[in-house]
Structures are given as C-alpha cells and as structure tokens.
C-alpha cells in the first residue's frame, strides 16, 4: 500500500495498536467528535449528497478551499446519532481527509476500510458503507477539480 497522508496514517496506526476489544470505543470517539454541519448546509440539506451504500441515512458535501492549483478540500457530513458506527466512519474521514489537497484525496486507496483493523468487529456491509463514503468524496472532488483521473 502506498503512503497515506500523515493524519490518516495516524488513525490507521491507532486502530492497529489498540487491543481489538477496545477498537469500537475508539470508533465511538470519532463518532462523538464529528463536527455539526455549518448553517449553510444544515439549512439546505439538498446541497448534500446521499450515500445509499450506507444502511443509515448519511449525507456529505465536498468543497474546494480556493481556485488555485491542487487546492485543499473541505468535507462536511451529516449522520444521525442513532447510527454511531456510520458517524464514526464519517468522523474518521473528516479527521483523516479534511484539509488535504485534491491530489492527496484522490490518491487515498479505495481499500482504506480494510486497513482500519475493524473487520472482526464490524460487518462487511458496514465497511462497504465506509467505502461508499470515500468513493463519493473522491467523485465530488474529481468533479469540482475538473480532473478526469
């Protein structure tokens, strides 16, 4: 696997070093740490893209910070408190990807969900939900940046 951006690598390492029975509590911390939507999105949920790969209702939006070359990417998520696993995944993506540059976001490997040492605790369908979120973030980033890669 290619090098991950440092924040994301830190998260992957944290999960790997944690005893397996405590990994879910770490995921819960990411769920609790997911920031609320800013008013621009909270008042206009239609601006968010749904992620039907997740069994819980989750929505996300991607913005580019400026119009320069390879600008930083900003991420926004909406996920209900009744779905802490999905929220936890959103929290991981927020902590690990928010502020990265377009090229860095697009270089994140699609098999990221399998790198989080959670495959024993979380069912495959759930982990595919995380892959769905990542895929949609990359898709929006690609469209916004006008790249066809």
């Amino acid at each position: 696997m290619s090098e991950l951006p440092s924040a994301l690598q830190g998260i992957v390492d944290d999960f790997a070093e944690m005893p397996s029975d405590q990994r879910l509590m770490l995921l819960l911390e990411f769920s609790d740490g997911l920031p609320d939507l800013p008013a621009t999105y909270a008042d206009h949920p239609e601006l968010l893209e749904a992620v039907p790969e997740c069994q819980s209702p989750i929505f996300l939006a991607v913005e580019l910070a400026d119009s320069g070359i390879d600008p930083p990417v900003r991420l926004y998520f909406s996920a209900p408190a009744e779905a802490p696993t999905t929220r936890g995944f959103a929290g991981i993506l927020y902590e690990g990807l928010n502020g990265l540059r377009v090229s860095e976001v697009l270089a994140i490997p699609d098999d990221l969900p399998n790198c989080l040492s959670l495959t024993d605790q979380v069912s495959p369908l759930r982990l595919r939900g995380l892959a769905g979120m990542l895929g949609r973030i990359k898709g929006q980033t690609r469209r916004l940046a006008g790249t066809n890669t």
Binding site: L28, S31, E53, E82, P84
Partner: protein, 298 residues
C-alpha cells in the same frame, strides 16, 4: 416462567402474548431476579452510546455467528456465551434493539434454536424506550458468571437451509425485503454492488410482504386484527401452513417469523437465514423477477 408475564391488554389478543413485554413492564421489572435484558442492534456501537440499565449486549456478527463457517455457534459456544452474560437456562431473557427490533428478533430466534425456554421481546424496542424519555446508561453491567448446559442446536423446527427451500418450492413462502429488492430492480442499480448478490429478484412463488408492514410507526407490533388482515386475508396464509420466510441475511425475516409464530399462532414457520445473499449467488437455482410471485419450474 421465572418472571411473571406482562398482562397488557394488547398482548392478550396475540396467540402467545406472553412473548411480549411493554416498556412499562420492563421499567418496573428491571433488576428482578431471574431476568436478563439483552440489547441486540444492527449498529454495533449503539449499545455503547447508552443502553437500558443493566442490559447486556449481544452482537449478532461477533457473538452469535461462528467465526469461520457461515453458521451459528455450536452448543458449547452458546453455553459459554450464556455463562459469560450471566444467563442460566431458567433465566427470562427480554430482547430489545434498534430498527424496530430486527436484530433483537434475530437474537431471540437464535436463542430458540438452542431451545432457551423463556425469551421475550420488548414491544417497540429501543426507539420506543428512548422516545418515552426512559433512562439509558453507559455503565456496563458486570454479570455473575452463570452455569448454562450444553444444549444442541435444533435446526429442524424453525430454520430452513437452501435445500429445504428447493424442496419447498410451490408451498407458502414470504419475502420480507423491500419491494425493490423483491422485484430485482435494486441490484441492477449501478450504485448497489454492495448488496452482495450476483442476481436480483425473488424465490419463485414467494409473496412479497415487507417486514415493516407488521410494525407501527413507533416500532410496536400492529394489533392482531391488523396482522391477520395482511398475512391471512390479503396473502391467504393459514395458521396450519408450512411457511418459509427470508430476507437478505435472515434478520428482517426473524421479525416476520416472530409475528407469524407468536402473534398469529402459525404452527410451522421457518426462517431461511441464508436468504438472498445465498440464493442470489447460488448456481442454477430458479429466480423470478418483477412483481409477480411466479411459479417454480416454469
């Protein structure tokens, strides 16, 4: 039964009303000797965000399934799990969970495979308890280890395998998934490769009765009369029919199995837990598409 039954009027109408308890009853009986409350959710983290005081968590994925084979625990594994949760053979186990009790019904069904005598479901599940503003805690109970006998799993009475279903074609079957999954449209949508099935559609002859039709908005079960209208009047099933229910992996169909068996009093209902993730991937099994149930061998 070791803990008295809930005499709520609504439950008395059902075939086996003592299989249900109300939130009022549970709140009154929390902490009773001989009672263990079990939370079983789709979301593996929900229990950790807060649960009914004293409730134990049982996770379908990590605790009820065998780690290697696609199957459930064996008798020894189940006995060890029960012991660790402080459950003895005489314990009254009340299940509740998210999603209108899908996973709670599923866990209850697995307990019945091992013949655990006294299992009950909290009508309305986790969401009703929460909506009523009742207490939730993050404190994990520390149960006293219990002795639980090794009871062999009985897969004959309430569980169906793929071969059973093949032999059952032409007899009553219900598909409790959403209508789009039933017609086979859903796996054709480009964004849904994750459903894990290579083919879409339903088992020929199976009638579509989405599980949610049995539940009210608040997650409680509909009244017996309303349920009879759906399964018996509309779908033409009778209580002495031999019925197989299935969904995607057997969790939603556990909910419908519970409804048919305990609320309507059907004699023989089996849950096909292989469900669509097995059937939709199996080679040369018949599949019907669209809204029509279709017929086998046609």
């Amino acid at each position: 039964m070791s803990v008295g039954v809930d005499r709520t009027e609504k439950f008395a109408e059902y075939a086996v009303g003592e299989m249900l308890v109300s939130t009022d009853w549970l709140a009154e009986h929390l902490g009773s000797d001989g009672l263990v409350v079990v939370e079983s959710d789709e979301d593996v983290l929900l229990y950790e965000t807060g649960h009914i005081p004293g409730a134990m968590k049982i996770d379908w994925h990590t605790e009820l399934n065998d780690a290697i084979t696609r199957d459930y625990l064996d008798g020894a594994g189940f006995a060890a799990l029960m012991g660790a949760k402080g459950i003895s053979r005489e314990t009254t186990v009340v299940f509740y969970g998210d999603k209108s009790n899908w996973w709670a019904s599923y866990a209850l069904w697995v307990f019945r495979l091992f013949g655990h005598p006294d299992v009950r479901l909290l009508d309305g599940g986790r969401s009703l308890w929460q909506a009523e503003g009742r207490e939730l805690t993050k404190e994990r109970p520390a149960p006293t280890r219990a002795r639980y006998p090794v009871a062999e799993r009985d897969d004959m009475a309430i569980r169906a395998f793929k071969d059973d279903v093949l032999g059952h074609l032409g007899k009553p079957m219900i598909d409790v998934r959403s209508v789009l999954e039933y017609t086979g449209e859903r796996t054709h949508m480009p964004d849904y490769p994750e459903e894990g099935a290579l083919r879409g559609g339903h088992i020929p002859g199976a009638q579509s009765v989405p599980w949610a039709r049995a539940a009210n908005e608040d997650g409680t079960f509909k009244s017996r009369a309303e349920l009879a209208e759906i399964y018996q009047d509309e779908k033409g099933l009778t209580t002495d029919d031999d019925v197989i229910a299935y969904c995607r992996i057997g969790e939603r169909s556990s909910h419908s199995w519970f409804v048919l068996t305990y609320l309507l009093g059907f004699d023989k209902v089996r849950n096909y837990d292989g469900s669509w993730t097995e059937w939709g991937n199996a080679v040369r099994v018949p599949i019907a598409k669209g809204e029509d149930p279709g017929t086998a061998g046609a």
